[in-house]
């Protein structure tokens, strides 16, 4: 499933204008965490990140962990500075009103998996 299809299936709100190429990326993994240290250490690369952590550092961490996109859950939306940094670094940001649990559940239903299988 590619990022575009995920966005459509979950009804995600787009927070950054994403390039056509980045939306075509195939996604098969995801990680859910609000602790940046955990994301850095454990998030599978090329996956999407689900989090409510809207601090500026989340962008740097997501980049280092090579995440394909960050989805902010529970209606959390980061400030403009964070969105601008994401645009600079080319990492797409999305938001959903659903909780991490519900968003993860729906992604799982679409075939996305975590680290272990």
């Amino acid at each position: 499933m590619n990022l575009n299809q995920i966005v459509a299936a979950l009804g995600l709100q787009s927070l950054t204008p994403a390039s056509a190429e980045s939306l075509q990326i195939e996604i098969s993994r995801a990680h859910a965490s609000d602790l940046l240290s955990d994301v850095l250490a454990n998030a599978p690369s090329g996956g999407v990140l689900l989090t409510i952590q809207v601090h500026l550092n989340v962008i740097a961490v997501a980049l280092h962990a090579m995440q394909a996109a960050v989805i902010f859950t529970s209606g959390m939306v980061p400030e403009e500075a964070v969105r601008n940094k994401a645009m600079e670094e080319g990492i797409p940001l999305f938001a959903t009103k659903e909780s991490t649990f519900d968003a993860a559940g729906r992604l799982y239903g679409l075939g996305i998996r975590g680290q272990h299988e």
Binding site: Q5, A9, G11, L35, V54, L110
Partner: protein, 528 residues
């Protein structure tokens, strides 16, 4: 009045929380429960953790009055350098250690404020901080903030007050930016759902006892009853028959429309009306209109044709099998919940069903070439005839009922009134424009005739008594006098600043003690 003090030791994260725990024990003894307890616990715990994380030591002072809980958390510590910054969600000065443990989200003070009815924080750098919170105890309105079929997400409220004026029965209040529905006055008509820009009001999702969300797929019951409008909500590229096909794939082999029973009801009422002397006869097609009549126009109850509303008739028809129902409005939701005595009924809100469908619909949308020629003859839904008045929209319905009450509607034999525009097509729960939606249905070629039964109402429609000022007539009269007197002293602007829709409502709220601390802010400010 009870006063207590619970000491807090700074720095020890492991032991923290003991003050809040002891407070909880005390409050349980006096019977504080539910939402109020939750809010108090959130305020107390966040305040206590602030002391533990940032200060040397502190005290949690509590004063319990008859109608309110007052808390003061005073600490000795470095104090807060910039209070505005501290109140900003996300800003935190917690240590890295605290953050690793999940603290330091920067939501402490904002969350205490959100949980409180009154909130104050002051601090002196180098000395310490004091946080004060007041949470009102009781009232019914605050404890069960929804009308029976509605859910209220108070935290989304932006304070525009549009809902206050829009509610036809003046059942809404916005106290401390926390919208509440007085359930005794609410007729569950969807007006607030349609008017609120922030999405505060929705059809309630869980059952009255907070039953879990209904799983749809596994062992899905075979029968599904939906409003026709549901099939028309997916845009111009996904016609109703595709939505129908996907619903069948989900496991619903037998799909019925609430309108099938509505159509039959209209026909039946026509015959019924021919035999009546008292005109106009009111056709019970919209349950919210029935609620409106029962609360605001009880003198017209006798004119309601004594049949069940379409959704209730549908439930009766499906009573011998498992069926899933999709309500178009909170009023239908409540009727479904009440009818579900056997537990056989599944109730799924439209948004949830759409959510399940959308991933499958994406793979099935029509390309223009594959759409067959549709039957475009519009369907006749109303029982047209010169003596039948069809009207939509709460304002129109209220006006017509007022005329009827005054005896000015005798030229009509039948009134077919719905709160939503074009019947269920116009419920705000559906996004598509009601005219577009209805046209899409009539063009779909799916119209079929199936025999259905109209069912006589099991019990007669009755006036709602919840609105009475007092069960005792003498006391009710006294209260009325006090309300009138109080109302006369208010500015009469109906501005809504107090949280009630009108000055008359505020007077009523004060005399009936619906909420502590009510007053007119305009008078308090001393404006002429």
């Amino acid at each position: 009045m009870i006063t207590s003090c619970f000491p807090i030791v700074g720095g020890k994260l492991d032991d923290a929380g003991s003050a809040s725990r002891r407070l909880k024990e005390q409050l349980k003894q006096i019977g504080v429960d539910g939402q109020i307890m939750r809010r108090i616990m959130i305020a107390a715990y966040e305040a206590e953790m602030n002391v533990v994380i940032h200060a040397f030591k502190g005290n949690l002072w509590v004063r319990l009055d008859r109608d309110r809980f007052n808390m003061e958390v005073i600490d000795q510590g470095p104090g807060i350098a910039d209070l505005d910054l501290a109140m900003k969600p996300g800003f935190s000065t917690a240590s890295a250690e605290a953050k690793q443990l999940g603290f330091g989200a920067g939501m402490g003070l904002p969350n205490i404020k959100k949980a409180s009815d009154l909130f104050e924080v002051d601090s002196h750098a180098g000395k310490g901080t004091r946080v004060r919170s007041t949470i009102y105890l009781k009232t019914q309105a605050v404890e069960q903030p929804g009308g029976r079929g509605l859910s209220v997400q108070a935290e989304l409220c932006i304070g525009c007050l549009d809902c206050l004026k829009a509610c036809p029965t003046r059942a809404l209040r916005v106290w401390n930016r926390r919208p509440s529905i007085l359930s005794t006055l609410c007729i569950e008509c969807t007006t607030c759902i349609g008017v609120c820009r922030a999405g505060v009001f929705k059809i309630r999702e869980t059952g009255r006892n907070n039953q879990p969300r209904e799983p749809i797929a596994e062992a899905a019951p075979q029968t599904l009853v939906i409003p026709r409008a549901f099939l028309t909500q997916f845009g111009s590229k996904i016609p109703p028959r595709i939505v129908l096909a996907v619903l069948r794939n989900l496991g619903f082999k037998d799909i019925r429309f609430t309108e099938e029973w509505e159509k039959e009801l209209r026909r039946t009422v026509r015959s019924y009306a021919a035999e009546q002397q008292l005109y106009p006869v009111i056709s019970p097609i919209c349950p919210a209109v029935i609620g409106l009549i029962e609360s605001q126009f009880p003198s017209l109850i006798a004119q309601i044709a004594p049949f069940m509303t379409p959704i209730e008739a549908a439930v009766e028809a499906c009573s011998l099998r498992m069926a899933t129902f999709v309500p178009a409005c909170p009023s239908q939701r409540t009727l479904l919940e009440q009818a579900d005595l056997s537990g056989r009924l599944r109730i799924v809100n439209p948004a949830e069903l759409s959510g399940r469908l959308i991933p499958r619909l994406r793979t099935q949308s029509d390309t223009p070439a594959s759409i067959q020629k549709q039957n475009t003859r519009p369907t006749r839904n109303g029982s047209h005839g010169p003596a039948v008045l069809e009207a939509w929209g709460v304002d129109n319905v209220v006006e017509i009922l007022e005329k009827t009450e005054k005896g000015l509607a005798g030229e009509f034999r039948i009134l077919e009134l719905s709160c939503c525009e074009k019947g269920c097509y116009g419920t705000p729960v559906f996004e598509e424009n009601p005219y577009v939606a209805q046209k899409r249905w009539s063009a779909s070629g799916l119209e079929r005739w199936r025999p259905v039964n109209v069912v006589s109402a099991k019990s007669p429609y009755r006036a709602r008594t919840g609105m009475r000022l007092d069960a005792d007539m003498g006391k009710a009269i006294e209260k009325l006098a006090r309300i009138d007197e109080l109302a006369a002293s208010l500015p009469g602007r109906d501005c809504g600043a107090c949280g009630s829709p009108s000055c008359a409502s505020l007077a009523e709220d004060i005399v009936l003690d619906r909420h502590p601390g009510l007053e007119c802010p305009v008078l308090r400010r001393g404006e002429p």
